[in-house]
């Protein structure tokens, strides 16, 4: 039972590394960006997990409730999600321009053309 409390952290580690694998091992640039967003989501999960308090409720104050989860990690992650999509959009914009200039979004094709 003691170890059950760590399952969320393990899921964080596994998701983080699945995303990282896509970033380093997949040659396709869109796949790399998808991997990056999985990586990002794993970090979000870590923060939100740390903010949870046993028996607490969502930090929306109401009468008769005295135990709330920590609002601070939630605030940080809430804004991080929106910033994350904006930077992903910027990345996708760059990928689209690379496709137009190089005719491919595969890593080795691009490196091949750069060497010529």
């Amino acid at each position: 039972m003691e170890l059950l409390g760590l399952v969320y952290y393990w899921a964080f580690a596994i998701l983080l590394m699945i995303g990282f694998y896509a970033v380093i091992a997949k040659p396709n640039l869109i796949k790399k960006l998808i991997g990056l967003s999985i990586f990002q989501a794993a970090v979000f999960l870590l923060y939100i997990t740390m903010g949870k308090v046993e028996g607490g409720t969502a930090p929306i104050l109401q009468d008769g409730v005295s135990l709330y989860s920590n609002p601070l990690p939630q605030v940080l992650i809430l804004t991080a999600i929106v910033v994350g999509i904006s930077t992903t959009a910027l990345g996708l914009g760059i990928v689209v321009r690379i496709k137009e200039e190089y005719g491919s979004i595969e890593e080795h094709d691009i490196q091949e053309r750069d060497r010529q």
Binding site: G5, M17, A22, I24, I30
Partner: protein, 323 residues
Amino acid sequence: MIILFGIFLLTLLVITALAIVRSESLFAAVILTGIFSLLMAANFFLLDAADVALTEAAIGAGISTVLFLGALALTGEHEQGASRNRLLALGVVTVTTLIVIYATFDKPRLGDPDAPVHQHVGQWYLEKTPELIDIPNAVTAVLGSFRGYDTLGEVFVVFTAGIGVLFLLGIGPAGRPEDEPDQGLRHYLVPRVVGRILIPFIFLFGLYVQFHGDYGPGGGFQAGAIVASSVILYALLEGEARALRALPMRFLQWLVAGGALLYGAVGVAGMLLGSNFLDYSVLASDPITGQHIGIILIELGVGITVTGVLLCVFHAFAARGRV
């Protein structure tokens, strides 16, 4: 019971993530990313983060999927061949996973109230919110007032990213509806009927989330994404040109800058009234009313900028496909 459900959701998340990475069709991978975000939102909800769950559902499962599909339409749906050093990557990833998992044994257990993260400023925010700000949603109080500087910075990051996308892709030639009569899904009965019913309600829900953010889960970030998704749905159904006629690019660019400026202006107003930057207490005779006014205004600024940036990015991708 809840932890069992949590483990179930986490297992689904890991399976989905593996399927995303293994899938050779990028189209399938993007759709699975939408499912991944929805599962992640359910997980956040279980962990008491209602605001974050709402944001993840609106942005991850909604807008991000549309943007990825827009990019796929311009770059092609299939990836070719795997990388040469797959085994090396697999080795690095496995070793790192084991190290991180080993490190977690020192971490406090899930929900431990004595964990270091709860010993500092978080508790103070919860205690002081009723006294200083007097709104029920502590997340909004921290976001809008206690940590207003952070949020201002985030809004400018979103703003900068939007400008960056417009720089990279341009806004494209102004399309006229009569030039392209076959745009959108207008000829398909079911999407058209269902869409027309849904769009006004999605928009209304967006406004509710915007202005109810002080009392329940919600606020400018979520509302901006929801309003933008209703306009994107309109663009998908009726064709992009019609959406642009309703909300022209010039207007959207005003939104992008206007929201960020509104946020900054509220901060400067505090300074002009004799207090610090982003101190709302002086905006009204009573400090608590001042806080309420300030939070509503800056949330509005956030909502306007997020809507503007997401729609500009969407139109930039769509316009690129037209030329």
